[in-house]
Symmetry: C2
Subunit: 224 residues, 2 copies
């Protein structure tokens, strides 16, 4: 794909750890990214901070309001679960025809560690698909630790399992623009729940070993 | 661990594909295994068939009734989900003090492929823990494809994520006696659901690529 024709990217919840990390990685890969936030000022600060810290071209990573982020070709939803409905109910129609990628996980933490919280719609990804019915919705990046995206810019050595009917070439390209990541089609949206909930398992493993682990599938063809 | 002191193993639902496959692998690793079934005759036939086909010592892999399998040191539950309650309600008390390993997944299949079916107790593993309250219950082997256990006896190249409080050394030894498998402690039993439901994702990926894939976690210490 010619970089000049890369789709533009908006990140809803772009000032959170996952949003900032994905925005940074995608800008480093040449995407023009706007981090969206309720506070455009805070989003601008976050973008300028990442650019300064990691030597990113300030034209590729900017901040703005969530409406501005939602107007991009590809919209990544990286808000906490409780923010999904209030954010997308007013924005849903704007997303008609857009590619929307959910990396939302609904999780709780207590003395025994992280645990998944069930979502009435099946998964956060399916909730987003309900709220943006004319968008092309995919689930991805659930298990990619936010901290790992900004702490060390080396390759990640993990797969991103993507749910949604027929992984869109633009989604595959975006996912694989993060160095060291392979996009693996993981079935229809209804299979999002296990992948969202798996995040709690990954965090439990990370706490046990004091590492940042990722998921790889073995046995796939080399061309996968 | 001295092989002479290996705990004995029983497999409930030992004539199903997962039960037969695990029984075979464990007998090949030196465990004395009894495949349990409602029909001891069928279990005996399954055991003799596996021994003849794969050159296993007939003393290490035998068949018997489910009661006989439930009397072993380590009991693997490999029945279909709908069989768990009818099987374990009468057997639960027998399992007091035993190690019980659940590899049960509750899944459905339709035109769109495999999908997880929610379990009221959270997961099949937690249901088993309720039915055998004095057993030490673990979840494991959920994502290991049954066919792969018997079709090709080479090493598996996959991790087995084990749920349960503090993975028991006997459980780790048993899991890792399957060549190519690393046991990874994956948190308390309440994290079993994502791992059980992940099986539907693995099967969807396998169908897409026409392969038999497995899960590996990257980024763990070499000693894991």
């Amino acid at each position: 794909m010619d970089d000049a024709k890369l789709p533009t990217v908006g990140v809803l919840g772009g000032t959170g750890p996952q949003g900032r990390g994905l925005g940074l990685r995608l800008a480093l890969a040449g995407y023009e990214v706007v981090l969206g936030s309720r506070s455009p000022e805070r989003a601008g600060d976050a973008a300028r901070g990442l650019c300064a810290e990691h030597g990113v071209d300030g034209a590729l990573l900017t901040g703005g309001g969530n409406h501005e982020a939602a107007a991009r070709d590809i919209v990544i939803v990286a808000v906490p679960f409780d923010g999904v409905r209030p954010l997308l109910e007013p924005l849903g129609d704007m997303l008609a025809g857009s590619i929307v990628i959910s990396c939302v996980n609904r999780m709780g933490f207590d003395r025994e560690g992280p645990y998944p919280i069930p979502v009435a719609e099946g998964s956060a990804t399916e909730l987003i698909a309900e709220l943006a019915p004319a968008a092309r919705v995919f689930g991805a990046f659930h298990n990619v630790p936010a901290g790992r995206l900004t702490r060390d810019l080396g390759p990640l050595d993990m797969d991103v399992l993507v749910t949604g009917d027929d992984i869109h070439p633009d989604v595959r390209h975006l996912v694989e623009s993060v160095e060291g990541v392979r996009a693996v089609p993981a079935g229809p949206l209804r299979l999002s729940r296990p992948l969202e909930e798996l995040t709690a398992v990954i965090i439990a493993v990370n706490r046990h070993y004091k590492v940042t682990s990722g998921v790889r599938l073995t046995g796939l063809p080399d061309s996968a």
